[in-house]
């Protein structure tokens, strides 16, 4: 199944009515689905025919002494019809499976890709757990809808209609009388199932509560033990546990009422039908053979209707899932290739900020205001300031993770918004505070950003420059060691260096880094420092500075506060000014003096 088929089409399938949406979702497979349903219908017809055969068998064969010739044919007839019925059922089952699986595969791939391409703003507010749930359980519910429920519903309706039609052929009056109770059963089922759904929801809700309680207890096992609160925890859990039992019981009462009631209705209907039929035979209005055929057929009319009610409830979960998946599909993707300026070579790295301002799309005020800056290629810019001063937001503008909302930003003389995002991300490298690595080999992690085959030599060069090559060689499988739970767990410092190697391999012209190394011991710190310095050589670099050492090597230091640049200059210049920078420097000096004093005192 070609991937291209899915990626742009599914947004066109969205519709406000969920059934319509589901129908549209099945595009390309509708013929198969219809064939499957048709197959099932013809299979029902085959079965109905075998009852007709019973009728004929009795009327014609038994009662008319024509036996010796006809009997083998009748026997063969049963078997032949069973073959037809069986073959069609199987074929339609296969077709249904093919459609359902095909639709699901396409949907899964589409969602995966769609989620990848949604904007940063979307992912910043979305919860991973919920997205995963929608991409897995909800998609699975849609699969069940197409694989089982839709076909079953079709089969039930067809079975009902076909058998009814055959019945009416046998005897119209009898046929119609046989379905008198059907509308009553259907509406009763519907009413019941509304209440059962509510009870079921309550039950599920309590299940989630119980699960959360268990999870919390497990997560806090140390606290429980440390305070010796096992008994307390037991009774806390017991309360929720018992509540689940209670709600389960309530759900059961409704279930146990519904079945017998619909059984009574169906049973009485059958009895009614059989009685009328019997009387009609006795009055000579229909033959005994017809009656026998009828008594076989009627079951296949009444039973489906009973099951339809249950099916409607099952389908409602499929509809609900579709709604949730549609919500995701509805979101706008981030256009990667939109842009009027498409250079064929990497950028020089000259940036001009003129009156740049930025506010997040969901409101919350201006995060950046009036930023003016001129950066020459290869310069190192250090950004300093308290939490929330806008440092991260500023650097996020460069790869167009977010777009500036006012002012102009020129890269090599051209407005940044004119560059396609794909190009920018290829040439802007980022090393984060807590780098994310994938559960793949180290080799694959380092080469993650490169779209082509990477030679081991290139890999090694990058790893050496990032001061991680030697460490990698100490792992059991070297570069082929798996990262993560299945393989080796890397320390914070090691992760950073792998991320640095990854960025080095990309060879970006512009660099953004966060130099925090908070949870790392000093030996590693020095190594990371060296690696970062190598990284910055010859590249226009923006450092979100936590370490005072970074400030020393910067060409330009920007002090941000409240989204504005409040001070700028080199270290020497800023120390001379009265402001935040001097406060920091003063604090540093003060602490150094304190330290000296303390050390001298001992």
């Amino acid at each position: 199944m070609a991937v291209e088929l899915g990626t742009s089409d599914l947004r066109d399938t969205l519709a406000t009515r969920r059934l319509v949406g589901l129908w549209r979702l099945a595009s390309g497979f509708r013929r198969l689905l219809l064939l499957a349903t048709l197959g099932v219908g013809v299979a029902s017809f085959a079965r109905a025919s075998s009852y007709l055969l019973v009728g004929r068998f009795v009327d014609v064969v038994l009662l008319r002494e024509d036996l010796r010739r006809q009997l083998p044919w009748v026997a063969a007839g049963f078997i032949g019809l069973a073959f037809v019925q069986g073959g069609l059922t199987y074929a339609s089952g296969r077709l249904a499976a093919r459609s359902a699986e095909g639709i699901t595969k396409r949907l899964r791939e589409y969602l995966f890709d769609h989620l990848q391409r949604l904007s940063f703003a979307y992912h910043a507010q979305a919860r991973t757990g919920e997205l995963v749930q929608r991409s897995t359980s909800d998609v699975d519910a849609i699969r069940r809808f197409f694989a089982d429920q839709a076909i079953n519903a079709g089969r039930i309706v067809l079975m009902f209609l076909v058998n009814l039609a055959v019945l009416i052929q046998l005897d119209a009056q009898l046929g119609l009388l046989s379905v008198v109770v059907v509308p009553i059963t259907v509406s009763m089922s519907y009413l019941f199932f509304r209440r059962i759904s509510k009870a079921y929801e309550d039950y599920q809700e309590q299940e989630a509560v119980l699960s959360a309680a268990l999870q919390e207890n497990l997560a806090g096992v140390r606290v429980v033990k440390a305070f010796a609160r096992q008994e307390f925890e037991r009774s806390k859990f017991d309360a929720e546990n018992w509540e689940k039992f209670r709600r389960g019981r309530r759900l059961l009462i409704m279930h146990s009422l519904h079945w017998p009631i619909s059984d009574i209705l169906s049973g009485l209907q059958m009895l009614f039908g059989l009685t009328i039929g019997a009387l009609m035979v006795m009055e000579g209005r229909i033959s005994i053979g017809t009656y026998l055929a009828y008594s076989g057929l009627i079951i296949w009319i009444i039973w489906p209707i009973r099951n339809l009610g249950r099916l409607v409830v099952e389908m409602s979960s499929g509809l609900g899932s579709y709604g949730r998946v549609a919500e995701i599909i509805r979101e706008e993707r981030e256009p990667l290739d939109e842009g009027s300026y498409r250079p064929s070579r990497p950028p020089q790295g000259e940036l001009v900020f003129k009156g740049i301002g930025f506010a997040y799309p969901d409101g919350g005020g201006e995060v950046l205001e009036d930023i003016d800056l001129h950066v020459l290629p290869g310069q190192v810019i250090a950004l300093l300031g308290p939490t929330g001063s806008g440092k991260t937001s500023l650097v996020n503008l460069l790869p167009r993770f977010y777009d500036y909302t006012s002012g102009s930003l020129l890269l090599d003389g051209v407005e940044l918004k004119a560059y396609p995002r794909r190009y920018l991300r290829r040439h802007v490298g980022i090393v984060e505070q807590e780098p994310f690595l994938f559960s793949r080999t180290i080799r694959e992690n380092i080469a993650y950003g490169i779209g082509r085959e990477v030679s081991p030599a290139e890999l090694e060069t990058a790893a050496r420059a990032a001061a991680i090559h030697d460490v990698i060689l100490t792992f059991p499988a070297g570069y082929d060691t798996l990262v993560g739970e299945r393989g080796v767990t890397l320390s914070g410092g090691q992760k950073q260096r792998v991320a640095i190697a990854r960025t080095l391999l990309m060879d970006p012209r512009i660099l953004i880094l966060d130099d925090s190394t908070s949870s790392v011991d000093t030996e590693t710190e020095a190594l990371i420092r060296t690696a970062l310095e190598r990284l910055m050589q010859g590249r226009t670099s923006f450092i979100i500075a936590h370490r005072v050492q970074s400030l020393m090597i910067a060409d330009l230091i920007l002090v941000l506060q409240g989204g504005r640049i409040v001070q700028r200059g080199s270290h020497a210049e800023l120390v001379g000014e009265d402001g935040l920078y001097r406060q920091i420097h003063a604090a540093q000096t003060r602490i150094e003096v304190e330290l000296e004093r303390e050390l001298a005192g001992v």
């Binding site: 069986g86 990848q116 268990l214 950003g449």
Partner: protein
């Protein structure tokens, strides 16, 4: 979080009778319900077969005999039985269902209770997701089998048996013909279900893998976008969805094949019945109604046989689940009270580590010949590089683990001679990542002493410097903290856990200081809180804050599982050794952290 690293147990294809019997044992306390629903099932299925028999009588004695009175009598009987059956259906659904819910309740309760007893080592090596599966979905499956599974099997057996009995009554020779078909169906059923089950197992594996990949891709979406990796990822994902497609499709068409095969076999039976029955009818050995009944019975038996095959397959699933549930139930806690464990009423006194060795994994020892004598009331700061053994010392002291060699003495006792309760009820712990339970702030602080009054709680909060920020919140002590304390900031959670420890009024205080940065105001409060707890108590602190380290009576520098340096702050500084280096670096590092917080309001000097 994926559980790939942990070995998921594979269940075998053989049927374990022992586990099955133990499963049945779960129903013993509720035997009345079990017996009740089995009897009701018997009634209902007898009635089902009865209906078909009455149908035969209607034909033979009513229609063909042209006897309206007889017809009326049979119809009345049929009608009456419909109502009786409905009552039966209500009863058995209710009984079976409630039995199921009760079994679930019982299993969950037992497992949870048992979990509280297990030692920390179990939780350190077992993923949380695995445990939750055991307690929720595995218990569900066991309950399902013991109720609906048992019901389906009993119903199937009874239906088939009564149908066969009726058939034998009507014409035993024809019944034998039909019976010949049954073993064929059963064999087909077993063969099919085995293959389908194997396919489902494969499907489950692929599904896990796909879910894991999906979850990781969503978690790492920033990196994917930053590196422009979308297309590549999609291609790789396509491999997984392709595998999923193939496996799922195979499982589906195998299932789709099953029913037609069964129907075909029974069609042969019907054909034979028609042929033989026809001959018999001619000879007067069979009535019309009889033939009709036979045909009905054959179709009638189809459904139960299918259901039994399905249940048989699910039974293996359920037995596997039961095995997992029982293995959890049977796992023994590693740290237990020794026989004759005593509670001396207090654990005040010197704490001594004598020649303690410890490892989590025998290949990599963590502590080697560790010796430390702590005097009563002393504050010890544990410092050193990551992985040196500091957390292990604390774990040992709290008796979450026990030494592999050597002893730990509290007071004059070897602490393994004391009961766990004796130690834990007098120990106060504040951990690195503070864990709160969902509920109010008040309830969380009260965890330290369950029957504390509001005043006592507030007093503790004041001492821990938590009271002020709690009163700043809109609902004060009644404020909900959210799951795991998620509604509060890290600093606030720390303060509450300090208050909790204060309320517990422990004799020994253990703390693992957090390394995360908080705003200056909270930082000061936390420092005050820690000092309050350290006051006059024997304290062990894995320290990161300079103020904590300096305030300790003695500092223990741990390296490679041994004490590298030991002494007061001044002594160690003078020695110009590891501690000196560590201290100066930490000092400078704290400066750098201050850079982050500059610009935020600092508290007025105390």
């Amino acid at each position: 979080m994926s559980d790939f690293g942990f070995e998921e147990e594979e269940f075998g294809t053989s049927f374990s009778g022992k586990t099955f019997r133990r499963m049945l044992g779960q129903t013993r306390p509720h035997w009345r319900r079990l017996v009740g629903f089995l009897l009701t099932i018997a009634l209902v299925s007898a009635l089902d077969s009865g209906f078909t028999y009455i149908g035969k009588q209607i034909v033979d004695q009513g229609i063909l005999a042209n006897d309206r009175a007889a017809l009326r009598d049979w119809v009345r009987l049929y009608g009456g039985l419909i109502f009786i059956q409905a009552v039966g259906v209500f009863t058995f659904i209710f009984l079976a269902g409630v039995l199921g819910e009760r079994i679930r309740y019982d299993l969950r309760r037992t497992l949870f209770s048992h979990l509280q007893q297990l030692s920390l080592s179990y939780f350190d090596r077992t993923p949380v997701g695995w445990i939750i599966s055991r307690v929720t979905s595995d218990t569900d499956r066991v309950a399902e089998l013991l109720t609906w599974g048992l019901l389906d099997i009993s119903w199937g057996i009874m239906n088939t048996t009564t149908a066969v009995i009726f058939m034998l009554i009507i014409n035993w020779r024809m019944a034998l013909i039909v019976l010949a078909a049954v073993p064929l169906i059963v064999i087909a059923a077993i063969l099919f279900q085995k293959r389908i089950l194997a396919e489902f197992r494969n499907l489950r594996k692929i599904n896990s893998k796909m879910t894991g990949t999906l979850a990781e891709s969503i978690a790492g979406v920033r990196v994917t976008k930053a590196l422009g990796r979308e297309q590549q990822n999609l291609l790789e994902f396509g491999d997984l969805t392709g595998a999923m497609y193939r496996s799922s499709f195979r499982a589906a068409w195998l299932s789709a094949l099953f029913l037609p095969v069964v129907q075909l076999i029974s069609a042969f039976a019907v054909g034979s019945v028609a042929w033989y029955g026809g001959l018999q009818f001619q000879l007067g050995g069979m009535t019309l109604g009889g033939i009709q009944a036979f045909v009905s019975y054959i179709t009638f038996m189809l459904w139960p046989i299918q259901e039994m095959a399905r249940v048989f397959a699910e039974m293996q699933h359920a037995v596997a689940s039961a095995e997992r549930v029982f293995s959890l139930m049977d796992s023994l806690p590693e740290i237990v009270d020794r026989p004759g464990a005593l509670d001396p009423g207090t654990i005040l006194g010197d704490i001594v580590f004598e020649h303690v060795d410890f490892w989590y994994d025998e290949q990599s020892p963590v502590l080697k010949d560790f010796n430390l004598h702590v005097r009563r009331g002393e504050t010890i700061a544990l410092v050193g590089p990551t992985g040196a053994g500091k957390s292990t010392i604390v774990n040992l002291l709290a008796r979450f683990y026990e030494p592999k060699a050597g002893t730990i003495r509290i007071g004059d006792h070897d602490y393994t001679d004391l009961s766990l309760k004796a130690i834990h009820s007098r120990l106060g712990m504040v951990l690195q990542t503070p864990h709160l339970f969902s509920g109010s702030i008040l309830a969380n602080i009260r965890y330290g002493q369950l029957d504390a009054t509001q005043e006592q709680v507030e007093r503790a909060a004041r001492i821990a410097s938590a009271h002020d920020f709690i009163m700043e919140m809109k609902e004060g002590y009644a404020t909900e903290v959210g799951e795991g304390g998620g509604l509060l900031s890290v600093g606030q959670k720390q303060l509450i856990s300090l208050a909790r420890a204060v309320l517990a009024d422990p004799e020994v205080f253990i703390m693992d200081e957090a390394t995360s940065s908080v705003d200056t105001l909270t930082e000061v409060r936390i420092q005050h809180g820690i000092e309050a707890l350290m006051e006059g108590r024997t304290s062990f602190i894995i320290a990161h804050r300079l103020s904590t380290i300096k305030r300790a009576d003695r500092i223990v520098l741990i390296q490679n599982g041994r004490i590298a340096e030991l002494g007061s702050h001044a002594e160690l500084l003078k020695a110009r050794g590891h501690y000196y280096r560590l201290y100066t670096q930490q000092f400078r590092r704290q400066l750098d952290a201050e850079v982050e917080t500059l610009g935020t309001p600092s508290p007025a000097p105390a």
